[in-house]
Every structure is written in structure tokens, then in C-alpha cells.
């Protein structure tokens, strides 16, 4: 009896260590943020930043714009992505493998690169699509069909690169739903639509909600696309406004205060999500189950393919066609012709531009390190919160989600403030970028793994523990293999997130620690579209290679091919 009391569960110290690291990672920058929002330049306590925030119309208007923007993007993503995911996961639509590949391509595309591509396509006068429109109908030189420099243009350009978050989560959830449940409904006389409404949709609802939440928050905190599209349109979003507050003379206090409403909105959204899902159980992976049955589309396959073509044409096919064209022509505005072809941009990027090699190397190293550490961290936190193992698991879950509400720019400053003074002087090294990326990417990883964990009933772990395994052993042997596709998807998510990240990196990079996104931004500032296109296409190829490799690696004890 006394002996049993002394048996140590080795999982406890591991869990505590992880929790402590997480607290430090999130709390340190967050407390600097709060400190800066309530003090003036001399360090004295002051409410002035908040007074200015609510009284200054040039600060309130961007906040309103940002909320509209986020809601617009959330709406579009939640309407477009789930049907697409359902078509891919549950029907016999032709080319559905390609749809997954193209959605992944859209996911790995940095939103600011997409925004630049859409500038090339739909700027009111020089946009390729508008040129075609004029040529087709023989209109005067200023007639235009599309104008990307508008509020809707911005919502559209962001949605193109945010909907994959919803798609991937919903598609993975659909993959995990056992066919038994849907079959049961069908056996009991439920038609296809009834089964979808009463069984399938409720089961993937957490994934839809989680995905929409990620999309919404991404839209709210995105910096690159607004910086490229909103300024020519003549308006500010909260992030571009905050960025302008760091221009000389910098007002970090006001910027910190301006970011707190975004944090508040996130807390409210997360509470709402929690309340919506609280009363329902969503464990769907219990014992054995069969493979999902595919719905026969018949004649409906044509509208289905058309929908996919519309979505993927907007987010991948057209933009990349525009980038490829821009990469090989002298003047982006000129039509494609032999006389206009050039290898100059390719030559410039790889042989003249001294930053290319270093930036590619840094991006790759940071991507792999952040993805590996971030997945491990997110896995532990998701486990703790899903199984409610430690006291304060809810706080832990909140901490892991909080960074998503902080614009990367503000996070960049907060992290800058945290790691430029003893004991941790990391500015000028890759470590500070690693910490920044880890903090910023954690929420996406956590959300993803949390919904994966929710789908796995603890009964399997419990069975293993009853048979004598300790918590870590049962995690490794039982839960991990079940989570394999979720974990790999998370790793890829974070890796891609690092490739896409711009707003924090732009404040934290130095001469020796530049990354691809920062050099693309610098090139855009001076309008070097050809060089940007070459770099963007290179990044796409590298990222794709890494994602494919990650899905082939025999990790987590499974030899089955990955499903995402």
C-alpha cells in the first residue's frame, strides 16, 4: 500500500516543464505589451494611450474596418471551404486528389504574395484580367471589370489564402468520421441530405467552427495583404495603422494599446466557440470502423467541378499563372511575346541579388525547427486540455490560443522588448525569430491538434493504462499512431505558417537573419515584381517538396501513408 503511494508517474514532471515553458513563452511578451500600453515614454503610469484609442477617429475607423474585414473573410471561408472538403472527402468527384494538392498550394502561398499576384491580375488599369476585358469588348482604356484596390478586393484576396485552414480541418475531420455512423443513419431510412444534416455536419461542426475561427483571426491580424492593397485603396486596417505607429517617431505604447481590442475580440470568440460545443460529445474514433463510403455524384459532378475550379482558379491557378508570366517578361504590363521574354529576373535573383541564398537557408532552418518544436508543444497542450489533466488546463488552452489575436507586428515588438535585455539577449540571432514564430504559430497547431484529440475517445488510452502502461507509454503507443495524420498536418501547418509569416519577421530580422518573406516585402516596396515572382515560385517548390517529404516520413510508428 505504501509502495503504491511512492510510484512516480514520469509524465507529471514532463507536463509541468512544458506548461512552464509555455507560460514563459506567452506571458513574457504579453506582459510587456500590457506594460507598454499603460505607460508613457518615461515609464510613468498613464491612461492616455487608451483615451487616444477611443477618441481618435483615425484609430477607431481602422478598428471598424478590421472587424468588417474579418467577418467578411470568415463568412466567405465558412461558406466555400466545407462544401469543397465534403466533395473531396465524401464523393466520387473526379480530380479530387488534385483539388487537395491545389488547396495545399493555396495554403503554402504567403497571403502577401497572393495579394501581389492579384494586383498583377486585377489592378483596375494594368490588371491582366481587365486588359482582356477591354480587348474582348473593345472598351476605352480606363474601363475596368475588377478593382482589387477596394474593401471587397481585400476581403477576396485574403479569403483566397485563408479558406484552406477551414478546408484542411474539415477534410481531416471527415476522414476521421467512421462510415458506421453515416451507414446507421442510412440503414434507419435517413436520406443523403438527412444523414448529412443530422450526422455528418454535426460531427464536423467543431472542425468548421475551429477553422472559421482561425480564418477570422488570421484575417484580423494579417499585415501583408492590407499593406499591399489597402494603402492604394486609401484606407487603413488595424495592422497597417499599428505599423504606421512604429514609423518615426515610434509610438509603441499606442500600438500596444491598439492591439488589446483585438485580443479582447479573440477571448469573446473563443468563449463563444466553447459554449457552442460544450454540451456535445464529439468522440468519433472509438474502436474499429470501416472506410467511409463515397457518394455517387452522377450528373452533379459538373457543377461540383465548376465550384472547385472557381475557388482554386482564384486562389492558385490564375495568381500563379500571373507570377510565372511576370517572372519571365520584361514589363509585367506588356503581353506575352518572344520579344518581351527575358531571363533577367531569374539571373538577378540567383546570381546578382546577394540576399537570396542566406534568406532561403534561414527560412528553411527556421521552418523545420519551429514546426518540430511547435508540434511537440501543441501536442502536449492539446492533450492536457482535451483530457483535462492538470489544474488550470483552461488557462493553458487560452494561453496557447492568445497569440493568434495579437497582430504579428505587435508580437514582433513585444518579443523584441522581451529578448533584447538580459538574461536573454537574442536579437540579431535566429533564436529570436524562432521564438517569435513558435509563439505565433502555436495557436494554429494547438487548434488543429485539439480538434484531433477531441475526436479520439479516452477509452483507448484507458484500456492501455489498465493493461499496465504508464501515461507516456500509452500516449506513445496508442494515441500517437491514431493522431499521426493530425500531427503531420500540424507540422506542415506550422512549417507553412513560418514561410507565410511576415509581420513579426519584418521587425526582428537583421542583416544576417533575413528570411524570404522579408526580402520579398523589401522588393515589393520598390516594385520589383519580376524578382518577387521568381522568389515566390522558388518558395512554392521548396515548400511543396518539404510537405511531400513530411508526409512520407515513417514517424510515429505508422507505415500507413499520410492522408492530408
Amino acid at each position: 500500500m505504501a509502495l503504491a503511494h511512492f510510484r512516480i508517474d514520469p509524465s507529471k514532471p514532463v507536463l509541468i516543464a512544458f506548461s512552464a515553458f509555455l507560460c514563459a513563452l506567452i506571458f513574457l511578451p504579453l506582459s510587456w505589451l500590457v506594460y507598454f500600453s499603460v505607460t508613457d515614454n518615461a515609464g510613468a503610469l498613464t491612461p492616455n494611450n487608451f483615451i487616444q484609442l477611443v477618441s481618435d477617429p483615425t484609430l477607431l475607423q481602422p478598428l471598424l474596418t478590421t472587424v468588417q474585414l474579418a467577418l467578411g473573410v470568415g463568412l466567405i471561408c465558412s461558406l466555400v471551404a466545407p462544401p469543397l472538403a465534403w466533395l473531396v472527402a465524401r464523393t466520387d468527384m473526379p480530380l479530387r486528389g488534385w483539388v487537395r494538392v491545389l488547396v495545399t498550394a493555396s495554403l503554402v502561398t504567403p497571403p502577401f504574395l497572393g495579394a501581389i499576384a492579384w494586383e498583377i491580375l486585377a489592378a483596375p488599369n494594368s490588371g491582366i484580367l481587365n486588359q482582356w476585358y477591354r480587348a474582348l469588348f473593345d472598351l476605352d482604356p480606363y474601363a475596368s471589370l475588377l478593382n482589387i484596390y477596394t474593401r471587397f478586393g481585400l476581403v477576396f484576396a485574403i479569403s483566397c489564402y485563408t479558406f484552406p485552414y477551414v478546408f484542411v480541418l474539415v477534410a481531416n475531420a471527415l476522414d476521421r468520421i467512421p462510415a458506421d455512423l453515416e451507414d446507421a443513419s442510412a440503414v434507419l431510412g435517413g436520406g443523403a441530405w438527412y444523414t448529412a444534416r443530422r450526422v455528418t455536419i454535426p460531427l464536423v461542426l467543431p472542425a468548421i467552427l475551429a477553422g472559421t475561427l482561425v480564418a477570422l483571426l488570421q484575417a484580423m491580424t494579417l499585415f501583408g495583404s492590407p499593406a499591399i492593397l489597402a494603402l492604394p485603396a486609401g484606407f487603413h486596417t488595424m495592422t497597417t495603422k499599428i505599423w504606421s505607429l512604429f514609423q518615426y517617431p515610434p509610438k509603441p505604447g499606442l500600438a500596444a494599446a491598439a492591439s488589446l481590442p483585438l485580443l479582447l475580440i479573440t477571448v469573446v470568440l473563443l468563449r463563444t466557440q466553447h459554449r457552442l460545443l460544450r454540451r456535445r460529445g464529439y468522440s468519433i474514433v472509438g474502436g474499429k470502423h470501416g472506410a467511409p463510403r463515397l457518394l455517387h455524384l452522377g450528373g452533379w459532378k459538373w457543377p461540383a467541378i465548376l465550384l472547385c475550379l472557381l475557388v482554386l482558379g482564384s486562389s492558385v491557378l490564375l495568381p500563379y499563372a500571373a507570377l510565372i508570366k511576370t517572372a519571365v517578361v520584361k514589363q509585367p504590363g506588356e503581353p506575352l511575346s518572344w520579344a518581351n521574354l527575358t531571363l533577367h529576373h531569374i539571373d538577378f535573383v540567383f546570381f546578382e541579388f546577394s540576399a537570396t541564398k542566406l534568406a532561403l537557408y534561414n527560412t528553411f532552418v527556421l521552418g523545420v525547427l519551429t514546426a518540430t518544436l511547435g508540434t511537440a508543444l501543441a501536442l502536449v497542450i492539446a492533450y492536457l486540455t482535451a483530457r483535462q489533466l492538470v489544474w488550470g488546463h483552461r488557462v493553458l488552452g487560452f494561453l496557447a490560443t492568445a497569440p493568434i489575436a495579437i497582430p504579428g507586428i505587435v508580437m514582433g515588438v513585444a518579443i523584441f522588448l522581451s529578448y533584447t535585455r538580459p538574461p536573454l539577449v537574442l536579437y540579431g540571432t535566429l533564436w529570436i525569430l524562432l521564438l517569435a514564430f513558435l509563439t505565433i504559430e502555436l495557436p494554429a497547431g494547438y487548434q488543429q491538434l485539439q480538434s484531433a484529440f477531441r475526436a479520439i475517445h479516452p477509452e483507448l488510452e484507458e484500456a492501455s493504462r489498465i493493461l499496465g502502461a504508464n501515461r507516456l507509454q500509452s500516449l506513445w503507443h496508442i494515441t500517437a499512431p491514431l493522431l499521426r495524420s493530425g500531427v503531420i498536418a500540424t507540422w506542415c501547418f506550422i512549417f507553412i505558417g513560418v514561410i507565410r509569416e511576415l509581420s513579426a519577421a519584418i521587425l526582428l530580422f537583421t542583416a544576417d537573419t533575413k528570411v524570404v518573406s522579408t526580402i520579398i516585402y523589401d522588393l515589393n516596396e520598390s516594385g520589383d515584381l519580376g524578382a518577387i515572382s521568381v522568389l515566390g515560385l522558388t518558395m512554392l517548390v521548396v515548400t511543396f517538396a518539404v510537405v511531400i517529404l513530411a508526409n512520407r516520413l515513417p514517424v510515429l510508428g505508422a507505415s500507413a501513408p499520410g492522408r492530408s
Binding site: T58, A123, P124, N125, S126, P141, Y142, Y149, A227, A230, L231, P232, G234, F235, H236, S244, F246, Q247, Y248, P249, P250, K330, Q331, P332, G333, F348, E352, F353, S354, A355, F416, T420, V425, Y427, G428, L507, T510, A511, D512, D522, L523, E525, S526, G527, D528, L529
Partner: protein, 352 residues
């Protein structure tokens, strides 16, 4: 091409002349320094120089390549960003005691006044600066000098606007027929535009910008962008932007034409200086000397489309000579004092 770098036997004589020339004019400036074999040797031991610059990246890389060819064993690393970004980055790095940059150049001369007052710049006068640069283009304390000059003119796309219909002055831009057809850069992001906004507001009044803002102007960030938007045909007219990008694009065949407004064209001087805490102090000085040599200055003109105030350089055929253009007066000290007002008034009118 002439070479303005004086070395070897002439060095002592040059030094003596320069000493006399400058010591009378600038009491506080240090004696001009020529490039000695000893300096080159020390620079080669350091092996590298880091140059923070806002000049067009292709131009910067060309200068670097030419420097490396002339002084083998010293690599020039280019860190190109917009002027205001460089200002922010340097401030951020120095605030954390991180000293990466050796030589710095931005298009906002007011930055140098600020940096000098912070004590971040090292007094250093290259021989060419002492000999060939007019007094108004070098700092009295010998810490910086005008590395390059450009203008911020009006321009139009010749496919969209006929020459006889093109605007001739800033006032012409307020004509309703240009509504929705103008592009311009932003003073919050571009050092060139801070300077040009100051000069235009001073000479024409803020009133001009208030009226211009009603013309549905397309707003971009860097001053290098309006010429590129013009070349793409995205807008027909640019209200401000770099003259050097206009030249480079036009000479590559883009349908562009510069207009030097009758009220005067804003003059943008862009200094360069050696940083006091440069990690490669000798390479920094060698590089600074090279930047101001006749060879590098001529390169800026020929390959960069820029203007030079070096007495031995030649303007390129086909470009309007600087002497034929009515320019507005630059006043970096006033810009330094008024920069916040400039940005906030601008934001008030243009909404961004």
C-alpha cells in the same frame, strides 16, 4: 571614364592641398583621407563591409560588385530597404547595442542630422568629397556628404497621355480630368517623399495637397513605385516619385516622360556616412571613399539614373541636365523639425 581615386605618389600632395582647403572652410571637420595601400590592407584583413542603403537594389548591387572588383578580398554586403525602414532598423539595432552596419545611406537628409546629434556617425572626409563636392553638399563637421541626388518630378505614360495634353505644373494636376488617374508615394514610408512633401507644401502651401487629395489619388509606399505603376499603365500620371527610376525604365523602352513642373522640382539629396560603431571600421572607410570616387559617382549616373554633384562626372545624353531644371530648395534641418507635422497633415488629407 575618368578615375577620381588618387593614390600612391600623389597622395601627400593631395592631402596637403585638401587640408588647406578644408581647414579654412570647416573648422570641426577632420582632414580628408585618401585611400592608402595601408587602408586597403587593413580593409582586406576585415574582409567585409555592410552597407545599409535605400538606393534601388539593382543599383546597389552594381556598386558593390564594382567595389569588390577594385578591392579584391573585401566583400560588400548590401542591405536595401526604404529610407524610413532603415531609420527604424538602425534605431532598433543601436537601442539594443547591435552594431551590424558599417556605412549608411538614406534619401532623407534629416536622418543624418538626427544620427549626428546622437553621436552615431564617425567624422570621415574622403579625399574626393573635399576636392570635388560643393560646400552645400557636405556636412560642416565632416560626418556625411551627399552621395547621390535625385528629383521628384511629375511624369506621364505616353501611351495614355499625349505630350501636348500632359500637365506642365503641380497646379495642372488639380484639373478634374486627371481624377482617378494619378499615382503618388507616401511620406510615411519614403524619405524622398517626406522631403518633396515638405518642399511643395512650403512653396505652394498645404492647400495644394488638400485639393490633390480630392483627385482619387492611388497611394503607394516607396518613391520607386510610382514610375513602375506608370510603366505598367496602372495610372497615367505620377504626382511624385523618383526621377532615377523614370530614367531607368524609359531607357529600357517603357513609355514614360518626365515633366519638370514650372513651380520647381523637389530636390532630394541623399547622404552617406560611416558609422562610429562600424564593425569593420577600415573597410567602412575604404567603402565610403569608393562611394564618393568619380568612378562610383559616374556609375550612379550611367547605371543608376541618378544625379551626382561630383565635379568630375558627366551627365548622360538624353537626360535633361540638372542645371537646366528649376529646382526647389532643400532644407534638411527644417524637415527634421517638421517631420511629424508633415506626416500627420498628410494623413489628415489623404486618409492614410
Amino acid at each position: 571614364m575618368k578615375t577620381g581615386v588618387n593614390r600612391g605618389s600623389r597622395f601627400t600632395a593631395m592631402l596637403a592641398i585638401a587640408l588647406i582647403a578644408t581647414s579654412s572652410a570647416f573648422a570641426a571637420a577632420p582632414a580628408p583621407t585618401a585611400v592608402t595601400p595601408e587602408l586597403v590592407k587593413k580593409a582586406q584583413q576585415e574582409g567585409k563591409v555592410v552597407f545599409y542603403t535605400s538606393v534601388d537594389v539593382a543599383v546597389a548591387e552594381k556598386v558593390a560588385k564594382r567595389f569588390e572588383a577594385r578591392y579584391p578580398g573585401v566583400t560588400a554586403q548590401i542591405e536595401r530597404a526604404g529610407s524610413e525602414r532603415i531609420f527604424q532598423r538602425l534605431g532598433q539595432e543601436y537601442g539594443s547595442k547591435i552594431y551590424v552596419a558599417d556605412v549608411v545611406n538614406t534619401s532623407d537628409a534629416a536622418h543624418f542630422i538626427h544620427w549626428e546629434s546622437q553621436g552615431w556617425l564617425a567624422p570621415y572626409v574622403p579625399e574626393d568629397v573635399a576636392k570635388y563636392f560643393p560646400p552645400e553638399h557636405k556636412d560642416a563637421d565632416g560626418t556625411y556628404a551627399t552621395w547621390r541626388v535625385t528629383l521628384s518630378p511629375i511624369a506621364y505614360n505616353t501611351k495614355l497621355v499625349k505630350p501636348n495634353e500632359a500637365p506642365k505644373s503641380f497646379a495642372d494636376l488639380l484639373d478634374p480630368k486627371w481624377k482617378g488617374k494619378i499615382v503618388k508615394a507616401h511620406p510615411g514610408y519614403s524619405g524622398t517623399i517626406v522631403t518633396s512633401t515638405f518642399q511643395v507644401a512650403r512653396d505652394l502651401g498645404w492647400d495644394y495637397f488638400e485639393k490633390l487629395s480630392k483627385q482619387s489619388v492611388m497611394q503607394v509606399q516607396s518613391s520607386t513605385e510610382p514610375p513602375k505603376k506608370l510603366a505598367q499603365g496602372e495610372r497615367a500620371i505620377m504626382a511624385d516619385g523618383n526621377e532615377y527610376n523614370l530614367f531607368l525604365l524609359k531607357e529600357k523602352g517603357a513609355p514614360l516622360e518626365a515633366v519638370y513642373p514650372t513651380e520647381g522640382t523637389p530636390l532630394i539629396t541623399s547622404p552617406a556616412a560611416v558609422l562610429k560603431n562600424a564593425p569593420h571600421p577600415n573597410a567602412a572607410r575604404l567603402f565610403q571613399s569608393y562611394l564618393f570616387s568619380a568612378e562610383a559617382q559616374q556609375l550612379l549616373i550611367d547605371a543608376g539614373g541618378l544625379r551626382s554633384v561630383h565635379a568630375q562626372t558627366k551627365e548622360k545624353a538624353g537626360r535633361t541636365p540638372l542645371s537646366k531644371i528649376k529646382v526647389m530648395k532643400d532644407d534638411a534641418a527644417a524637415v527634421e523639425k517638421e517631420v511629424e507635422t508633415i506626416k500627420s497633415r498628410y494623413a489628415q488629407y489623404f486618409g492614410v
